[in-house]
Point group: C2
Chain length 453, copies 2
């Protein structure tokens, strides 16, 4: 399905731009101006001549230019009228931010709107939604002010989210953590465009490498399964399901007006479709980090390199618990490492370069591990608190990673000093984690995804 | 056991202070000076007259004043000589930073040192350790430079850690995250003072509210069990065990020279002793956060208050999965909430104050929940991205918490704006989390600890 206008329209009308700066329509319009949207944007408000130095129109019909997308932020009872106007104006795509439909029990209005959209052949995201954000075009229908919700930098993760609040806080958090996004969509009640349509579109979107999905209930199970199968062959889909318990499912009813089905059915469908399942939002982030950055691993044999014994042990425990394999060095690698590393370093897995590890030791370890055929994936733990690791360890890791021979994930934990080095790796396409368990669980999903594919 | 001198000595000798600023002894000595240690500190180096503007002594014997604690950072082969000198000087407590003993297979030297310590009746932490840090007295034997490893602020969490690297990176991370610490000890090979001795001491330490413990192997199982039982009746102990798999256990051998025992035996002992088990370092933090801050809950019935539907649902799922109960409002509370909250808010659990929630709505919800007898614990989710929550929501939450009627845990996720509000709650003794699952798992441990106690 063609959903291009929802992310990169050339011209947008915001319908319902109040002069009150706290109101939803106003915030949206302001975000277009402040956010650097490259297309044209027109405010619609019958009671104003000018808003934020832009000429205001009584309805979309008053705008002379072609409009690719209308964002509707008027009270529920005025939405039908706005849609009629869009139809007359020839607008084919709308985002309906307004709430007050089936999610509050207003089924009559809900049906009317649905019928009208069908009759007019207008494609809609919403109602009762946050809408869309595109980090590249700066299309931004999110009605949350930029000082409260930062927008993420350009990147390759796209996120489809049934819940507006989950979506907005995650976007904000992702910005803080430095994740790069491509597209975001919160589709609310999914009256027309649903999660499957968005999945299909993002599956074909060149700037999206990984699709994250928060769902409570899919609208059409068969459609979802069919599309998810197709898309996950092209790129990873990571999904988290809200309402996996009876009590949680009950709560979804008052949230988006849809009753979540049995968790087992969903999890089964995920498995069947090759969708990577996350159980928490935190996991979703960690999985997206590795799946958006790493190359395809040849197998599941992990080599741990560390300068912290305890971290190496925790990583080892976690590798075993996640049914991954601990790699073993070949005789030749053992010989080389034995020759080039100090006698106190025991050549095993984890390869503990010990507390006085230098950058040079990491270089030797990486050099041998990159060539070793028995190793598929490298989990590199670098605790930067010890003084003999110099900051150019970052270059050593980047150089190894740039060879594109096997995936490398890095674990480091600490404060400011650590954070500078972490960000540097991060920007050079290396997945970074704070705790060994996070990295190992993410590696397990990387392996799982490519095994199934 | 009296371990006071390891944390609040009045005078300290650092033995082996090189003039080379990268060397361990030098870094330790510098940290005493830069860190603001209140007692006296003397550098020992036979080849220098002055170090960092302090008179240097050829051995501890040259120091005229009484010395409460010697920190020994000379090469392994010189440690015995240093201990002899300490004995002559009348020093009863030493921290041996030096490595090169049983952890590298040097069993002969190891036995000699052990016998000498016994003969001299000198209490020792180490060898092969980071030593101790006290956030209150600024005693600091950590040989890691302050620009790489920040020291945490004063607080009530104490951390005993077998692994130096785990300990140091966790201290650094904790500082970054704003956790307050009381005492830290990394005891390395545990030749003399072991985890149980430290536990016992911290159990009696007034400034410690929660004890965190990372262990690979305890030295004396019966002693640990006996002391842990006694201490956990006074205050919570949170323990994480490294080497819970066969492969992980094998790796502990080359780490601290001790073979980790079966995980089941450890987990059984934790249960028996009332020790709260954490499976990851991340969990350990989250549990310490709630156990150091919250009052005793009356039961396990949780009420969720949220302005984000999806977060409420994820929290609900997690409450059920963690065998906690969802609280139900009494008729009277329902009546009050119905009267005071807008009709769109459905009065249930989670109590979803919906996307346009104001601070006032939170105030009403908290007011009723604090009085409701069917609610034992409140999980409050506040996503600050929506504009109608004003920043004084922080005061509303603090006021409710200050009534000390029931524990409140807060979930918020986001960037800068969120972080300011989060820190404010944090400083007012309210546990804060990023994701609902983190908070719920921590609440489960809070309930578990007080049920067993």
């Amino acid at each position: 399905m063609e959903l291009k206008n929802f992310f990169s329209p050339e011209s947008v009308a915001v319908v319902g731009v109040s002069r009150d700066s706290n109101k939803v329509g106003h915030v949206i319009f302001r975000n277009f101006i402040d956010g650097g949207f490259q297309g044209k944007v027109f405010p619609v408000n019958p009671n104003a001549d000018q808003i934020l130095n832009h000429k205001s129109y009584p309805s979309v019909l008053g705008i002379e230019e072609r409009i690719d997308l209308a964002i509707i932020a008027v009270p529920a009872e005025l939405v039908l009228r706005a849609i009629h106007d869009c139809k007359k104006k020839g607008i084919r795509d709308v985002i309906i931010i307004s709430s007050g439909f089936k999610e509050v029990g207003n089924y009559a209005l809900d049906r009317k709107l649905e019928n009208l959209l069908k009759k007019c052949r207008i494609r809609a995201i919403g109602p009762n939604c946050l809408g869309t954000f595109d980090a590249h075009t700066k299309l931004d229908s999110l009605f949350l002010p930029r000082y409260r919700l930062k927008r993420p930098k350009e990147g390759s993760i796209s996120f489809v989210c049934q819940s507006g609040a989950v979506g907005s806080s995650i976007l904000d958090l992702a910005t803080e953590e430095g994740y790069g996004f491509s597209k975001f969509a919160s589709y609310g009640n999914a009256m027309d465009v649903d999660e499957s349509d968005l999945l299909e579109y993002l599956g074909n979107d060149k700037s999206t490498k990984v699709i994250c999905l928060y769902i409570e209930a899919v609208k059409d199970g068969n459609k979802f399964l069919r599309i998810a199968k197709k898309v996950s062959r092209k790129k990873p889909i990571i999904a988290i399901k809200g309402g996996t318990t009876q009590e949680g499912a009950k709560a979804t009813l008052s949230h988006t007006g849809s009753l979540a089905g049995s968790a087992d059915i969903y999890f089964g469908a995920f498995r069947q479709a090759g969708v990577v399942r996350a159980d928490t939002l935190e996991e979703m982030f960690h999985y997206a980090e590795i799946l958006s950055k790493c190359i395809v691993p040849k197998g599941n044999k992990i080599q741990v390199i560390t300068n912290g014994g305890g971290y190496g042990i925790l990583a080892t425990d976690c590798i075993v618990k996640n049914n991954l394999e601990l790699a073993s060095f070949s005789k030749d690698s053992i010989k080389q490492l034995r020759k080039r590393l100090p006698p106190l370093v025991s050549i095993s897995n984890p390869l503990d370069l010990i507390g006085d590890a230098t950058t040079e030791r990491y270089k030797i370890a990486l050099d041998v591990c990159m060539k070793e055929k028995n190793i598929d994936i490298i989990l590199l733990i670098a605790l930067y608190q010890t003084p003999l690791i110099t900051t150019d360890i970052v270059d050593v890791i980047i150089e190894a990673n740039d060879m594109k021979k096997k995936p490398i994930a890095v674990v480091s934990a600490g404060g400011e000093f650590t954070e500078v080095l972490r960000k540097n790796l991060d920007e050079n396409n290396i997945p970074t984690y704070t705790f060994p368990e996070q990295a190992v669980k993410a590696i397990a999903k990387l392996v799982e995804y490519y095994e199934k594919k």
